[in-house]
Amino acid sequence: MHAVCSVRAVEDALGIQIPPNARLIRNIIQGIQYVQDHTIHFYHLHALDWVDIVSALDADPAATAQLAQSISDWPKSSAAYFKGVQDRLKAFVASGQLGPFANGYWGHPAYKLPPEANLMAVAHYLEALDWQREVIKAHAILGGKNPHLQTYLVGGMACPVDPNSQAALNADSIAHLKELFVKAREFVEKVYLPDVLAVAPFYLEWAGLGEGLGNFLAYGEFPLTDTVSSDEPGDLFLPRGIILNRDLSKVHPVDHRKIAEYVTHSWFAYDDESQPKHPWDGVTEPNYTGPQPPYEFLNTDDKYSWIKAPRYDGKAMEVGPLARMLVAYASGHERVKYWVDTVLEKLGVGPEVLFSTLGRTAARAIETVVVAEQLINWTDELAANIGSGDLRIHELDHWDPSTWPKEAMGWGWMEAPRGALGHWIHIKDGKIENYQAVVPSTWNGSPRDANGQPGAYEASLVGTPVADPEKPLEILRTIHSFDPCMACAVHVLDPNGREVVRIRIA
């Protein structure tokens, strides 16, 4: 994700336009990344906040099959299949080998699903593990390996295309990609989204919790036409825009010059810390003022974070799938509107519930389906373009640094699965003079700014009821719904300021 953002930053600085094949290959790589990553997030990093594995032991497999068949025609949903999963689960628990599942919050009163729904989710947790490993092979085909593809170039991609060569993207590899994308789409339409729809009715109170800021930022993603510059990215499949104060009637344009970062509560130094800096003028000078480790507490009146506090036009913003889906929905995006309305109708609720923990989790599933629908189209478009005789994958004119101007500035943008990512570059004499990255978890996890405004995580936790302060499952739900990029800590304090429990969230 940082790879595409960094090459876009340099391309913007040097005025490079990449060839259509490179644009399509980038879209395909990012598209399958969304589909795979969102699904892993839901099943493997978030589902256990809602699903009690232990309760699945009490499920009736026949009733589980009935439930599964009532929500989707996924072919595996037989009583025998769920019985098999349950037997494996029973043996697993009986062996005492709980590994990563040991010490979970099983039996917590905030778990509301009936045993059958839990068993169905556990079965899909296991299926998703195999599925993700398979569909991401598209990255290896196009970029040599996953994780960390090795193919992004300033000016294009290193993946050669040639219908007449075994060593390039050809009819055979395109067929392989399409086979993977059929599997990808089938799973998210028949398993992932139906599971979210099946679980959501039991947790509708979470449609009114975890809202946060109400301000949303999306740079947009998937250029469908040539990109002129980062400010003129062409037609984007997922649009660029800003929603303010939950108002879906208006989508504001994005001007990257309005982005600036504070370090008031961050362990960095500015000359004047009452003012934020635009990333082109950004400095990253460490200035740790906290206690010497090991420590129990940080004083939040002082500096307390390694994260800077980015703001847009002075406002804290939420980024991520919910931001993208809201901007697309408010922009009248046809497929997003269709799926959002379908989901809202099935749950019998209005669009206002999107501003919540549940809305964030639902938006991620909706986006997965919307993007999965496009993968085959984009692959067909790539095949057609190659078939027309266009074999270009790279803009050659600026490859040699001696062709560059003495000085150039640019910014790169992209929508990572977890939200808006920006890189800012200043090139001088063929070298990097300054480089700054403002990443999604910086927006969402930001500390307070000079005006005391909190970031999205902090704002979203206000008003969250916690049934058992020793086991704050409810807090995990909301923080996990953002898909944080890091292990972060939430400290639960009693009204006297005494720490009750500290939870680390991965």
């Binding site: 628990v93 990563p100 040991a102 919050y105 490993r133 040599g144």
Partner: protein, 374 residues
């Protein structure tokens, strides 16, 4: 089954009965046939004769369960993602699960105090394997990476106490990786720079190729010892050969057929990427033979040169990534053979000497201290 029966406090993590892998796998729907196939593949990755597959199978069947603690420090979770791609999926991953991943911040269900309790219980018993992902910063007392108010260094030392081995996965844990790249602002180091009392295995790569982790573990369980390693603590089965010597594009190198521009005819025909900056001639890794994502591809196969990600300080010594290595032996053997009239062996032998000199000079120029054995 009741909830009380798996109450964490009551739970015996090692289970009451003797462990049998084949039974455990059968419970999870993995047949004996698949298991034996896995053992054969592991023998292949470990470069063992195929007869050894049965020894691997016997050893794994009866192995006692080894707990594993996975730590993340200055990392990007790329190696964790790689773990999720474990090749030979069901079995490969289950071997790791059978090892019992008792602590892994990203994938474990519990958080906070409960997660720490799992780790503490495992470490207290001892006899565990520690996997480390990410580098450890030392500057200013290590405060640049603290988890729960403790420094990475303290957590590392606390966790390796009583461990049977430490596996450093990825370039960051092995050699410091990108956090240690010049000017190394946090004074980041790898595990082996700190841990001296417990055997350390380095499995570098960016990220780790998970097949090498599985194979290292299988080797350990089969032979009761760590695999033979080079001077950088990398197992020879995975890092014993140069990418360049196993590369499928090597004939094009020998023939003097090079990619000159991205997307040119040579690039489309799969010619050698040396002139586009490929670091295969200076990199020891088994990418060309085991490939990635269950053998789907590897960078050179998909058209991009090697970056040297299994080598120490590769961010400093292998950059600029798109600039070709200064001296590589055997340059255009076929193209020049008529003119020089020498046999291939003589040219290659001369080339190795030239390469050794070239590498040493370049390393020095880059300010790196590591010496490479050719």
């Amino acid at each position: 089954m009741t909830r009380e029966q798996i109450d964490p406090l009551e739970l015996s993590l090692t289970g009451g009965e003797p462990f049998n892998l084949v039974e455990a796998l059968a419970r999870r729907g993995v047949s004996r046939r698949e298991f034996l196939k896995f053992c054969t593949i592991m023998a292949g990755v470990l470069a063992l004769p195929v007869e050894k597959a049965s020894r691997i199978a016997r050893a794994l069947e009866n192995t006692p369960r080894v707990p594993l603690v996975w730590l993340e420090f200055q990392d990007c979770a790329g190696c964790t993602e790689s773990l999720l791609r474990a090749s030979r999926p069901t079995v490969g991953e289950l071997v790791l699960d059978v090892l019992s991943v008792d602590y892994h911040e990203t994938i474990m269900a519990p958080a906070g105090e409960q997660a720490e309790a799992s780790k503490a219980a495992t470490v207290e018993k001892g006899g565990h394997i520690v996997v480390v992902e990410g580098s450890i910063p030392l500057k200013d007392g290590g405060l640049y990476c603290c988890i729960g108010g403790k420094t990475a260094k303290d957590i590392l030392f606390e966790t390796v106490e009583g461990a049977i081995a430490v596996i450093a996965v990825g370039n960051c844990a092995a050699f410091g990786g990108i956090p240690a790249a010049s000017p190394n602002p946090t004074e980041a180091v790898g595990v082996a720079d700190l841990v001296k009392d417990v055997p350390v295995v380095n499995l570098p790569g960016c990220p780790l190729n998970v097949v090498n982790l599985t194979a290292t573990v299988v080797h350990f369980l089969t032979f009761g010892s760590l695999p033979a390693m080079d001077h950088l603590k990398r197992p020879l089965f995975a890092y014993g050969k140069r990418i360049h010597d196993n590369c499928e594009r090597r004939p094009h190198f020998d023939a003097g057929q090079f990619v000159e521009e991205w997307g040119d005819e040579g690039h489309r025909l799969g010619w050698c990427l040396y002139k586009m900056g490929c670091k295969g001639p200076e990199t020891y890794h088994n990418c060309p033979t085991v490939r990635w994502n269950e053998g789907t591809s590897w960078p050179v196969m998909s058209g991009h040169g090697c970056l040297g990600c299994s080598e120490p300080n590769f961010w400093d010594t292998m950059t600029p990534f798109y600039q070709r290595l200064p001296e590589v032996p055997g340059f255009g053997v076929e193209a020049t053979i008529d003119k020089v009239g020498l046999g291939l062996t003589a040219v290659a032998a001369a080339g190795v000497a030239a390469h050794a000199i070239g590498s040493a000079v370049r390393k020095k120029a880059a300010g790196a201290s590591q010496e490479k054995e050719e």
